[in-house]
């Protein structure tokens, strides 16, 4: 069963070529000397230099980074609480509504989320700016965090928590000392997801951002509308590199953690 047939090899090669060739071309052309984006004019890193001179891009990047950090931290705390309520909360008034509100934003078109939040901010008279983007991002990413964390909460053995309570822990201590270390990997991947969602978001941010705060995707979008530019190629290359390094590092860390756990389990079996 597990052999690479001719058909499978072809579909994998073509499939991954389809997924990667466009991005590879962007990376190659970011080192193009020529201003013309379709003609190769020799190797150069000058567009990276120009990019780092461009105040507007740097400011937007800084705003995006601050928004992503703040909103992802809020989303992680709220999302973990939400997951805990969903899985361990028991019955309470409005539970169905609560779980509906956790799952609905995942499938909601961004234009609707953006529009509705903007109308809310206007009707309560909140000035649009960085703060409103943080609120908007925290709201939709907390739902993603909740889903990721609750799948971990469902799968782990509840009796360890009960044991901690029996042995005299307060519920909060049991959460901090037992539950949190177990769900920590899910909380961290939820946080990374929230961070990425916020860094990437264009549509919701362009609704709720005022003229005072421009995020990087908004800036990139408005310059892409004018066409392909070598500076955007350079910026894309940097972002692709960050994601690539981050993803590979994360997968190596999880692989190592899995191997360590397997080794510990084996040792526990031998000694016990």
């Amino acid at each position: 069963m597990r052999r690479l047939t001719w058909f499978n090899a072809t579909s994998l090669t073509l499939g991954f070529a389809f997924l990667y060739i466009p991005m590879i071309i962007v990376i190659i052309y970011s080192f193009n000397e020529s201003k013309l984006v379709t003609v190769w004019g020799g190797f150069s890193t000058k567009w990276y230099g120009e990019l780092f001179q461009n105040e507007a891009f740097l400011d937007a990047a800084w705003v995006t980074f601050k928004v992503a950090l703040a909103s992802s931290l809020i989303a992680t705390v709220l999302g973990t609480m939400g997951a805990y309520v969903l899985v361990r909360g028991g019955r309470f008034y409005g539970r169905t509504l609560f779980s509906g509100m956790i799952y609905a934003p995942l499938v909601m078109p961004e234009v609707i989320t953006g529009l509705s939040l903007l109308l809310l901010f206007i009707s309560i008279g909140l000035d649009r700016g960085m703060f409103t983007i943080v609120l908007a991002h925290a709201t939709f990413s907390m739902c993603y965090v909740s889903v990721v964390v609750s799948s971990r909460l469902v799968s782990f053995d509840r009796s360890v928590e009960e044991a901690a309570l029996d042995l005299g822990c307060t519920p909060f201590e049991a959460f901090r000392l037992v539950t949190l270390p177990i769900i920590a990997p899910a909380v961290i991947s939820g946080w990374l997801l929230a961070l990425t969602l916020s860094l990437d978001d264009l549509v919701i941010a362009s609704f709720v951002a005022g003229p005072s705060a421009t995020t990087l995707p908004i800036k990139v979008f408005s310059s892409i509308r004018l066409g392909v530019s070598p500076e955007i190629n350079a910026l894309s290359t940097i972002l692709i590199m960050i994601v690539t390094i981050g993803t590979i590092a994360a997968s190596l860390t999880t692989k190592r953690a899995v191997m360590r756990r397997q080794r510990e389990e084996r040792m526990a079996e031998q000694t016990g």
């Binding site: 499939g15 466009p22 109308l119 892409i224 392909v228």
Partner: protein, 298 residues
Amino acid sequence: MNLRRFSLIAVPYFWLLALFLVPFLIVFKISLSDIALAIPPYTPTLELSEGWAGFRDFASQLDFENFEFLATDDLYWKSYLSSLKIALISTFFCLLIGFPIAYGMANAPKEWQPTLMLLVILPFWTSFLIRVYSLIGILSQEGMLNQFLMWTGIINDPLTILNTNIAVYIGIVYTYCPFMILPIYATLTKLDGSLLEAAEDLGCSRTEAFWRITVPLSKAGIIAGCFLVFIPALGEFVIPSLLGGSDTLMIGKVLYEEFFANRDWPVAGAVAVILLLILIIPIVLYQRNEQKQMEAEA
């Protein structure tokens, strides 16, 4: 109920009520209002200071005029239909491309699988905007695709792909493909290989075994993947506005323009309400599929 439990539930609950549910009610309310040259640009506005009389006055001025307008103006129902068509066709092509990739991954040697998985996840984490952008340079008149096709001699004159609906299809298939691959791959790896061996022992050809065993058993993954592509594609804004032409009608783009360019908030609200109503059907179906799958695993 003790205070700690109450606050644990109340904080995320009220956050979502205030920033998710209430905004929708506001959209719904505005969709029933009329456009006005004022700030905010719609009428009536609710005057809480006037008490019950103020509310009654407010409620009596709400009507379904904007929805009637949507029904009579060609632009809107054409955009809904064209969004549905674009989302359906792109979902089909995503499946056509995604299934062989997922199948190839699931049947690749075990030690390759983590790497292949990483290769699918990587585009998923990469900025959506950048991936759409990377297509612009390829699909344009003097872009890579035309240069390549002319070099091979298949065509003599460059094709116009960018700023047409074809570019929108390519864009959706390209950016949403990982959403199709991952759930199908997940069901295919769980597939019991001995079933296929049994089928072949009992005289099935490999193709027959594929259609009678592999496809039905990966149905849950196929359905999940299709909804994960179809639902966001329907309300897509970035792809039609960057890759599509001026004649590309997609409802996400129409809503955005109605709101920002025409500043007609009540109509934009009505467009949003209808889009939501259309989406409820696939969302409910998707959730039912997920539930069935979870019950099957339990």
